[in-house]
Each structure stands twice: as structure tokens, then as C-alpha cells.
């Protein structure tokens, strides 16, 4: 909860900063600083919160703020996708995972040790400094190259206002191969998740001819049903592998 307060304090500071410093640059920079600052704080919260449920809630907030940044980048369609997929599916899956493994309330507190964190913090801060230098050093393209790319820039500006339509066409034509492949990837992961989460007994139980019940369907609903069933039946001895 300390972090939640930190987040709001951060928003406040960012707002003040906006008023004091960024007035002359136009409104968007101030909005950006607020959103980005909150997103970074939420990311910190996700990583540091001891309670996993709190972590997941920070993560939801973070996903939402990233969607806001996508809108600032004029990719509204992706912002919608971000909300639908990350908040609607990923975060919910993570929540299910937490509840199924943490005795429902999910308040199993992780013990942190300084010994584990200090080197990680040094690595992370070092990498950040290097990345920051890299960003500062990132050179601009030469004028000649920018001029040659003019049609691409023009095409990009043109598609901004009809993103869903253009994206759909592009996915079905130019990028059809990665698009089909990602479909296969999603199929594979769904099939695999169902196969893994199925509460089967041992091999011998299957091979003596008694069919295991409920193994005929392969639908996503089946997955969640199996997953949900896992907690109730996890005390059954046959589910616990040797």
C-alpha cells in the first residue's frame, strides 16, 4: 500500500512538474510525463509488492497505462488490443494462477533477501545507465536518407486514420506468413496447456483400458474448467504424481 501512495504522489509530482517546466512545450509532454511516470511506478510496484495479488493489480494498471501510451502514439487499435489481451486475458490468467496456487487469498508473503537483491539491483541499474547513454547517443538519420524514405513516411501518415482496415489487409497479404504462424502458435499453446493441465493419474491407470473421464473435448472453456477443478481435487492422492 505504501507503493500505491507512492504512485499517487508520483502523479502529483509529475503534475506539478508539468505546470512548472513543460508549460511552454505544449500540453502533450506533461500528459506523457504523468502517464509514463505512473507506468514506471506501477512496474516498480509489480516487481516489489510482497503480496502477489497486489503485484497483479499493479500489473493491470501498468498494462492500462501502456495502452494510454499507445494512444498517444496514435495506435488506437493496438491500445484496444492491449487492453483486451493483456488485461482481459493475461492478467486474468495470472490472477487464476495466483488464486489456485496461493490458498485463494494469495497473501503468501515472499521472503526477500538483500543478498539476492543487491547484485540484481546493480545489474539492472548498470543496464539502465547503459541504455540511457545508448538512447542519448542514438544518432539521427541523415537528410538524404530521410528524403528517400519520404513515400514510406507518407504512407504511414495515410494509414493512421484507417488503422483497423489497413492492418487487416496487411496481415492478410504482406504479413500473411507470420500471421498464420502466430495462429499455429496459439493453437499449439492452447492444446499444450490443456494437455498439461489435465489431471490424469498415472500411465498404468490409462493403459488398463479404463478411459479417463472428461478428456474428449479440446475447447478453451475446457481448459479453464480443468484449471478450476484443479484446486478442489488437488488433495486426491491420484493427482499427486509420485
Amino acid at each position: 500500500m505504501l507503493l500505491l501512495m507512492l504512485v499517487s504522489a508520483g502523479m502529483l509530482v509529475a503534475g506539478l512538474w508539468e505546470i512548472l517546466i513543460f508549460r511552454e512545450f505544449g500540453p502533450m509532454r506533461g500528459v506523457f510525463v504523468q502517464i509514463a511516470g505512473a507506468a514506471v511506478l506501477c512496474a516498480v510496484g509489480t516487481v516489489l509488492a510482497r503480496n502477489l495479488i497486489h503485484s497483479a493489480l499493479y500489473l493491470v494498471a501498468f498494462f492500462f497505462l501502456v495502452a494510454c501510451l499507445f494512444i498517444m502514439l496514435e495506435a488506437e487499435f493496438l491500445a484496444v488490443m492491449q487492453v483486451l489481451v493483456f488485461i482481459g486475458a493475461v492478467a486474468i490468467l495470472l490472477m487464476f494462477g495466483i488464486m489456485l496456487t496461493q490458498d485463494v487469498q494469495g497473501d503468501q508473503v515472499e521472503a526477500h533477501s538483500v543478498l539476492r537483491r543487491l547484485p540484481a539491483a546493480i545489474v539492472a541499474i548498470g543496464l539502465f545507465v547503459m541504455l540511457a547513454v545508448a538512447v542519448q547517443q542514438r544518432p539521427d538519420f541523415s537528410k538524404a536518407r530521410t528524403e528517400r524514405a519520404a513515400p514510406s513516411v507518407a504512407a504511414r501518415e495515410r494509414v493512421l486514420n484507417q488503422m483497423p482496415q489497413e492492418l487487416g489487409l496487411d496481415l492478410m497479404q504482406r504479413w500473411c506468413l507470420p500471421f498464420e504462424l502466430v495462429g499455429l502458435l496459439l493453437t499449439a499453446s492452447l492444446v499444450g496447456a490443456v494437455a498439461l493441465a489435465q489431471p490424469v493419474g498415472s500411465l498404468s491407470a490409462g493403459s488398463d483400458g479404463t478411459p479417463s473421464p472428461g478428456s474428449l473435448t479440446e475447447t478453451p472453456e475446457h481448459l479453464s474448467r480443468e484449471v478450476a477443478g484443479g484446486t478442489h481435487s488437488s488433495s486426491r492422492p491420484d493427482l499427486v504424481s509420485p
Binding site: A43, L52, A149, P151, M163, S189
Partner: protein, 109 residues
């Protein structure tokens, strides 16, 4: 309107989120928390890609939507990774009755 905010600001934010996620991957012991940190890293990459797409200079002749398609694909991949990850975590939880990577010790390392 988005031209207001310089590209480097987005890059700094993405870098910041990325190293926070990396820190989480290195420190958290609960596999679900590690998955969350990995999601942070993937989102940082997405932010990077999309900022470069919108505000960077494309290669001459480049298609108009490259960055957007890249981001969309990464979103799908991230979802697949989490689905498989949660399934595996549940399987391990059934076996060990614990969600802590340090306690999974059926092998030497």
C-alpha cells in the same frame, strides 16, 4: 499531435520498464511473479517498437505498418507464453504443493 513528445522520452521509459522487469526476473522466486516480470519486459519492447514506428524514420521503401504488425504479433506471443506458463506452474504446484522455484529440486541443479 504525437510529434510533441520526443522519441527519446519513449525510449527512456521503455528502457526503465525493461530493467525493472529484468530486476524482477532476477529476484522473484514465485514463478507467477517471474512471469509478470517477463510481461513487463515484453511490454517495454512493444513500447520501443511502437515508438520507433511512429516517430522514427522508416527504411526507404518500408511498409507503412511494420511496427504495428510487430507489436500485434508480440502481444499474441506473450499471451501464448503466459497460457503455457500458468499451466506448467499449476502442474508443478500439484506435485510440490508450493509455488517457489527454489523448492523444485528433483534434480541436482
Amino acid at each position: 499531435m504525437s510529434q510533441d513528445v520526443p522519441l527519446n522520452w519513449y525510449l527512456i521509459v521503455a528502457a526503465c520498464v525493461f530493467v525493472i522487469g529484468l530486476f524482477g526476473v532476477m529476484t522473484r522466486r514465485n514463478p507467477i511473479a517471474v512471469l509478470m516480470s517477463i510481461e513487463l519486459m515484453l511490454n517495454a519492447s512493444n513500447l520501443n517498437i511502437l515508438a520507433f514506428w511512429r516517430l522514427g524514420t522508416p527504411n526507404p521503401g518500408e511498409a507503412p505498418l511494420t511496427g504495428v504488425v510487430f507489436t500485434a504479433l508480440v502481444i499474441a506471443v506473450a499471451a501464448a507464453e503466459v497460457a503455457v506458463g500458468i499451466a506448467l506452474i499449476l502442474v508443478c504446484y500439484r506435485v510440490w504443493k508450493s509455488a517457489d522455484v527454489d523448492r523444485y529440486d528433483s534434480m541436482l541443479g
